[in-house]
Amino acid sequence: METLSNTPGLEERAYRIRRNAVRMGEVQGQGYIAQALDIADVLAVAYFHAMRYRADDPTWEERDRFLLSNGHYAIALYAALIEAGVIPEAELELYGSDDSRLPMSGMASYTPGMEMSGGSLGLGLSIAVGMAMGLKRKKSDSRVYTLFSDGELGEGSVWEAMMSAAQYKLDNMIAIVDVNNQQADGPATEVTHFEPLVAKLEAFGWYVQRIDGNDMAAVTAAFDAAKAYPVPQPRIIVADTLMGKGVPFLEDREKNHFIRVEAHEWQLALKALDAGRPA
């Protein structure tokens, strides 16, 4: 058990989440590594600053719920759950393997700490609306966090959920949209016209903050503000992130939605992360 004095800082947590993700990527030789690297700072803040949970009791009734709508980001969430102690680090070796609890796409029935089965996109916010309603019915002060991607803005159900959350004043909902501007067929902004996102989301009745999702201070402040905001509205953080963040040769790889990394490059990636590790 770590004492308060040597508790890792959020930068260190983010480094370790990235490292876990790269190690899992190496197991499969490929995967959604660039997304895991871009969202690690947000996950570090969610799991080590903002959220209430018990690592040894993932279904603890008073926990905050974290919904991973974009199931292909599972590698990122596993990396965070391993760092949080919900999943033993040894299981990292089993990522995407037969009979593993860590399938390539996130599924609630497989993984402790996974609250929903994603994979098909645009599901998370709808489930979150129901969970937030349910928590209010139970007079619980737990919050529902939902991570989804800019590509999912193309799914109509996202906007259905946006309107309903505002209708029911679900101030216990905090959504994070990862704007890395990359989806399967190319830059997200070239696939679906979703900007100006802040104006759209505000018009839908949400409290909106737009931040650099790789600036730890900004991410921390945004989560704090989302929790403290006094108006009964759902809250959303638009996090602009950089695909492959922390591994320069992945950051500028042209096609980085689903990365195939050469065998020797995994060690290079870990070295790059080590080079940027906080002191």
Binding site: S109, S117, S126, G130, M133, G134, V144, S157, E160, Y168
Partner: protein
């Protein structure tokens, strides 16, 4: 395909309301059996909530909404959202009864039912009006393939009740059942039929309503009302028909079906208010064939077509699921 010019000088029935009454003029009915039964269950169970996608008044859920306004969620015209949110409420320990038309649930929100409800085995009750051919509004509103779609989904229990009595009994039963349920709904003034047959609904149980040595009707939902009427008409011609009512389409009561089909010398006629593809008929055929039985087997259901718009009595005759059509067809098969 365009249609030819209509004949203008003959008397004609009109489509009338979207939800035409399925009760005959002189038939006993009960009003809103689903809404009233749900209120009864919810009086004893605070975990039950109601949800609708802008069709509360058209699924009889508005009765629940009036009785329990704080447990009634209007989700708007957003079926995907509604079923996703139903999953979320179920995850928090509530038992949502989510209502819309069968077409909108099974077509528009299929993925949400599949992924957020069935795959996670969440305790959501999906209750859907306008099943099969019970609207004259054409394919947009005719849920002719919903049973096939929902039967194929793992974890899903699928129920097609016959009348008001069965709906009243099914509501507490599905509330008690752990896991997702898809139930077809008859709403408004719903015929009352099964009260004369000492009937008791049980999930997963087929029930023999009347016996006879010439024909075995195996029917579900509204069609059981029709096969009972057909059996009476056939009796006038000295043809004895049995009616096996199978309101749980999944899990199918194979034991009871096989016990009835094994009785020799009877024509087996499966009757359903659903396309002949993937519904009760093919389910029964599968059970029977896998058991090595080869009865004389016939199937009455809706054709594999997009059906016409029009008045319900016209359409039920046209597509062979009216009492007269069932009776006539069966007689021909027996000749």
């Amino acid at each position: 395909m365009t249609r030819g010019a209509p004949v203008m000088n003959k008397p004609r029935l009109t489509t009338s309301a979207m939800i035409a009454s399925i009760a005959d003029a002189d038939q006993p009915t009960k009003a809103a059996p689903f809404g009233n039964a749900l209120v009864e269950v919810a009086r004893k169970r605070s975990d039950i909530v109601g949800m609708t996608a802008d069709l509360g008044k058209y699924t009889d859920l508005h009765i629940f909404g009036k009785a329990f306004p704080d447990r009634y969620y209007q989700m708007g015209m957003a079926e995907q959202l509604m079923f996703g949110a139903a999953s979320g409420l179920a995850a928090e320990g509530f038992v949502p009864f989510a209502t819309t038309y069968a077409v909108f649930a099974t077509r528009r929100a299929y993925d949400f039912i599949h992924q957020t409800i069935a795959e996670e085995n969440r305790n959501v009750k999906i209750v859907c009006a306008l099943p099969g051919l019970t609207s004259g509004y054409g394919p947009s509103h005719q849920a002719t393939e919903d049973l096939a779609v929902m039967r194929a989904m793992p974890n899903m229990t699928v129920i097609d009740p016959c009348d008001a009595l069965e709906i009243e009994q099914a509501v507490p039963a599905i509330a008690e059942h752990q896991g997702p349920v898809y139930m077809r709904l008859l709403r408004g003034q719903v015929p009352l039929v099964l009260d004369k047959y000492d009937y008791r609904f049980e999930i997963g149980k087929a029930k023999l309503l009347c016996d006879g040595s010439d024909v075995l009707f195996i029917s579900t939902g509204l069609m059981t009302m029709r096969t009972l009427e057909a059996a009476q008409k056939l009796a006038a011609d000295k043809i004895a028909a049995a009616v096996l009512h199978v309101s749980t389409i999944k899990p199918l009561d194979a034991d009871t079906i096989l016990a009835q089909v094994r009785k020799p010398g009877r024509l087996v006629v499966v009757v359903e208010n659903h396309t002949v593809i993937g519904g009760l008929g093919e389910a029964v055929a599968g059970v029977v064939l896998r058991d090595g039985i080869a009865p004389k087997f016939r199937h009455i259901g809706l054709p594999d077509e997009f059906l016409d718009a029009g008045a319900l009595p016209t359409l039920h005759d046209r597509y062979g699921i009216s009492t007269d059509a069932i009776t006539k067809q069966t007689k021909q098969w027996l000749e």
